[in-house]
């Protein structure tokens, strides 16, 4: 089908609006309210064009293209209409471009220049709107608002959390939060990008620079497992702000607030500025060469079998590859990245975090089961995809240990105590084994005896409903990242696998780190991976390495609180002979554990590659050169390799390493072992006592995010303990007081009490969001609660 725009033949499909056809054909039509990811509002009237045969101009954004019609976007009728609209919009818009942060990238500024009148005829007073504080991330200046309602529609349609609304009409029309509360959506920052004027601006970069000074560098986010594409805007070798970069396969045009504002951590006080070595028991700043010499000398004194190295799964593939290579060249086999995993049973069936289907296909799923996943806050981009599936009438079910707030509705949700989560999953397997008994395609698959012996008859109706929904074609099971701390995590993985086989559904283990796949592929775990030419010796995993109290620990890009076995680690580090840290940030309390700390560049300052949950390789260049005297990880590791081993090519540069990693790792896919015959369910905990549960705060996930000042202002009170009323009464807690004492072993914590019916019985829900929570003890352990 064809139409003519400005005498140019344009093809279109049924249902296309005029503005879509024009955009595809490179014909510019001015617009404010229209955004191709949002619904059509047609309230700004800027896109008026002439349709031949109709004597009134038509809004291009809401006019459907009609076969063989002729349209003109620059005829006199259209131009006059656009000019008049622009004049109307500018009546109340302040002329404060010189102080506005948006100036230079402002749609109103550009279009006023192209489509507006030269001079204003309006001489009366302009309208002033009072600003409300909507939180630490977005700076408002609502006088500049032109009421396009993009932000309102964004909240309703994309973020799924209705926070902004239109209040009043005509002159008193105003866009604001309903109850002057702060914006709470984990993707609120995108409102800054879609606002065509300077009404909503990023608060952290407010008034610190001008748009035309910035240099744009494409980058990949390092804070969640999807690897959102983003652009760093660099000003004077500092990251000035972060904006999304369109990638239709992954993040479309959105990024989460965590990816957007975590750059602020780069110059945090904890940043390691120079190499630090402990000389005569005192930390001294040393030069790089000196630090390398100390490492070489002292590492040679220590038995390689009594050494271990831990690397963050947030490091780039290149760093991970070089790290394990460096250690293995020094005969150190105790390498691991699974620092937040609590339990390593069923290790031979270990599966990396991974999604069976591409991220963009999540929205086409017909049924989704979330297993204890706070996905809206932990993985906002994945949550957005699930929301899209929900809007396409997918059935979303959730089994969880806390009634998480989602930005979509769930069909059935089942609240269980974390100690009984595995039993719930076994119940599902039991029901499915009955339902699928006649399924011939499952003839070759036997449910392991270890699982079968735990079958105990079904009595829960919602389990049947949830299981039935999974039997729909094209279903998906997602295992949440919080569970990595759970002692039965490996069991959950295997059970999820069994359920996905029985229901022929896709499955995904959502990792909390950006490059877990990379860490698996590069061999940053005790392994005998053939591609890496290892001799078959399997080292110790994190837990064993910590328990063995070794002599040398090497910690790469991790805070100590990243370790699940945090308290044991502290003891082991105290007794170790040498502790080497490759760190961007070290807190004052952690510093004394280290003998040598090498300042490491953050991901913003170094090039690298991240492999996301769908096995997509995404490389990026450095946004700015490393601050202070820190160096990129690949440089430090290459230098150490050159110093300590012979046979390493001296002329190694980044491209060589990239090629090496590419040739060794790229074609390697870890085989998922489906041999489940000898699998046995080992019940780890089924105690009826009070259990601590809850994951990490989404703004406390890694060493960069937890140091970003603005993000950490979003949650005003972090020292909260949530318990439901029944449990409180059973434990004789005085409900009238708003403080309680929680105890784990010897440790106690005084915290604010929240009576919250979203917590399951016999649970104390604490979101780890400050260091005291880690000092208190581990998740999913017995906890006591007492009156003040």
């Amino acid at each position: 089908m064809k139409i003519k725009i400005n005498n140019k033949d344009c093809k279109f499909e049924k249902g296309d609006t005029l503005i879509q056809v024009a955009d595809r054909n490179g014909i510019h039509i001015p617009r404010f309210c229209y955004h191709d990811k949002l619904s059509i509002a047609a309230n700004c009237r800027m896109c008026l064009v002439e349709q031949v045969g109709i004597n009134k101009p038509q809004p291009a954004c809401s006019t459907p293209a009609i076969e063989n019609q002729e349209y003109f976007t620059k005829s006199e009728l259209a131009m006059t209409a656009q000019k008049n609209t622009m004049e109307l919009l500018l009546i109340n818009h302040p002329l404060d471009c010189p102080v506005c942060d948006q100036a230079g990238m402002c749609e109103l500024q550009d279009q006023a220049l192209m489509h507006g009148r030269v001079k204003s005829r309006y001489e009366q007073e302009k309208r002033v709107v009072i600003d409300h504080n909507i939180g630490p991330l977005i700076k408002t200046n609502m006088t500049r608002c032109i009421h396009c309602t993009r932000c309102v529609r964004y909240g309703e349609e994309i973020a799924g959390i209705k926070e902004f609304g239109v209040i009043g009409r005509g002159e008193s029309m105003e866009i604001r939060t309903y109850l002057t509360s702060a914006i709470n959506s984990p993707m609120s920052g995108n409102m800054i990008d879609i606002c065509p004027v300077g009404a909503l601006n990023a608060a952290p970069s407010h008034m610190k620079g001008r748009t035309w000074e910035l240099e744009e560098v494409k980058h990949i986010s390092s804070h969640d497992c999807v690897g959102s594409n983003m652009s760093l805007h660099i000003l004077d070798n500092n990251v000035f702000r972060v904006v999304p970069h369109e990638n239709k396969k992954i993040n479309e045009v959105w990024i989460s607030d965590r990816d957007r504002f975590s750059y602020e951590a780069i110059d945090h006080n904890d940043r390691v500025k120079k190499p630090i070595a402990k000389i005569n028991g005192r930390h001294t700043e040393v030069e790089w060469d000196q630090a390398f010499d100390i490492i070489k000398k002292r590492m040679s004194e220590i038995d390689a079998n009594k050494s271990a190295g831990f690397i963050s799964a947030n490091s780039t593939v290149e760093e991970q590859y070089l790290f394990q290579k460096w250690l293995r060249e020094n005969n150190i086999d105790n390498i691991d990245h699974r620092v937040s995993q609590s339990n390593f049973d069923h290790n031979d069936k270990d599966l990396m975090s991974k999604l069976d289907i591409p991220i963009k296909d999540i929205e086409n799923s017909k049924s989704i089961l979330l297993i204890d996943s706070n996905i809206t806050y932990d993985q906002p981009i994945l949550s957005h995809k699930i929301r899209k599936a929900f809007l396409k009438d997918a059935k979303i079910n959730s089994i969880h240990t806390y009634n998480y707030k989602y930005n979509f509705d769930t069909n059935n949700s089942l609240l269980v105590n974390p100690n009984f989560l595995s039993e719930t999953l076994i119940d599902i397997v039991e029901y499915l084994s009955v339902v699928t008994v006649n399924d011939k395609t499952l003839k070759n698959f036997n449910i392991p005896e270890g699982v079968k012996k735990n079958f105990k008859g079904l009595n829960n109706n919602s389990i049947i409903k949830i299981s039935n929904d999974l039997l729909i074609n094209n279903s998906l099971i997602l295992l949440g990242s919080n569970l990595i701390n759970h002692p039965e995590f490996q069991l959950f993985k295997v059970l999820t696998n069994i359920i996905s086989i029985l229901t022929k559904s896709h499955k995904g283990y959502i990792g909390e780190k950006s490059n877990e796949t990379g860490a698996w592929l590069t061999g940053c775990y005790p392994s005998k991976n053939k591609n890496l030419n290892l001799d078959g010796k399997i080292g110790l995993n994190v837990y064993e390495s910590i328990q063995e109290k070794l002599d040398l620990y090497i910690i790469y890009n991790l805070d100590l609180i990243d370790f699940y076995h945090y308290s044991e680690l502290q003891e082991s580090l105290d007794s170790a002979k040498l502790v080497i840290g490759f760190q961007s940030f070290v807190t004052e309390e952690d510093k004394h554990y280290y003998d040598i700390i090498l300042p490491l560049a953050t991901t913003y300052e170094s090039p690298g590659t991240f492999i996301n949950i769908e096995n997509e390789w995404q490389s990026f260049v450095q946004g700015c050169t490393p601050h202070y005297t820190s160096k990129e990880g690949w440089k430090i590791l290459t230098k150490l390799r050159l110093m300590q081993s012979t046979g390493v090519d001296k002329s190694l540069d980044y491209i060589d390493i990239l090629n090496e990693v590419d040739s060794v790792v790229r074609n390697d896919t870890l085989h998922v072992k489906n041999n489940l015959d000898d699998f046995d369910v080992k019940k780890i905990s089924s105690n009826k006592s009070l259990t601590r549960c809850g994951g990490k705060s989404s703004y406390y996930t890694d060493n960069i995010v937890r140091r970003a000042p603005s993000l950490n202002l979003v949650n005003s009170s972090t020292n909260l303990v949530s318990v439901n009323k029944k449990t409180l009464e059973q434990n004789n807690i005085d409900l009238s007081k708003n403080k309680v004492i929680v105890k784990q072993g010897q440790n106690t914590l005084l915290a604010e009490l929240v009576i919250d019916e979203n917590v399951s019985d016999d649970c104390v829900y604490i979101i780890n969001s400050n260091k005291e929570h880690y000092d208190l003890g581990k998740q999913y352990q017995t906890i006591r609660i007492e009156n003040v």
């Binding site: 010189p98 102080v99 100036a103 008034m207 610190k208 620079g209 001008r210 035309w212 000074e213």
Partner: protein, 160 residues
């Protein structure tokens, strides 16, 4: 031949040249006795820069960086920050006089008439580094010559 001989005998060419000299002795002088006398200046004269203040004492500059952007010689360097009262102010405003070509674009770009070029053209530097005028220097120049700047600015506005 004889004619040339007579001409050179009576120093005819010399007298011809001296005629110009003697005639100029009685003409009005075109030079000035600098530094005791100075040439007149246009109100649009583009000399040393100054930053102006409002009569209340508040500095005019809002740190919009338009002058920095327009400067063809890249002589201006600005850093800004949000002040406690919520307005953006410069923390650094440097003009490198070695780079500056005195084109006056900065003056033209300024939306608040903060940066102006004064009539001052007599200055010198003794040390390297003195060629860079900092924000304080510029404000001092502005304060000192504000009366003249005000007159010149209003004059310019009338001639637009």
């Amino acid at each position: 031949m004889f004619k040339n001989y007579i001409k050179s005998f009576f120093l005819y060419e010399l007298l011809l040249g001296m005629k110009v000299t003697f005639l100029n002795m009685f003409k009005k002088k075109t030079t000035l006795n600098y530094p005791h006398e100075k040439a007149p200046q246009s109100p649009r004269f583009r000399g040393l820069h100054a930053l102006r203040r409002y009569p209340s004492g508040e500095e005019r500059c809002i740190g919009c960086k338009l002058c920095e952007a327009v400067c063809p010689a890249l002589a201006i360097t600005i850093d800004t920050e949000e002040r406690n009262d919520g307005t953006r102010r410069t923390t650094k405003y440097d003009i490198d006089l070695f780079k500056c070509i005195f084109c006056g674009f900065c003056e033209e770009a300024c939306p608040v008439d903060a940066i102006v070029e004064t009539r001052i053209y007599e200055y010198h530097f003794e040390e390297r580094g003195e060629n860079i005028l900092s924000k304080g220097d510029l404000l001092k120049i502005g304060d000192k010559f504000e009366d003249q700047i005000t007159i010149d600015q209003s004059d310019k506005a009338q001639r637009l």
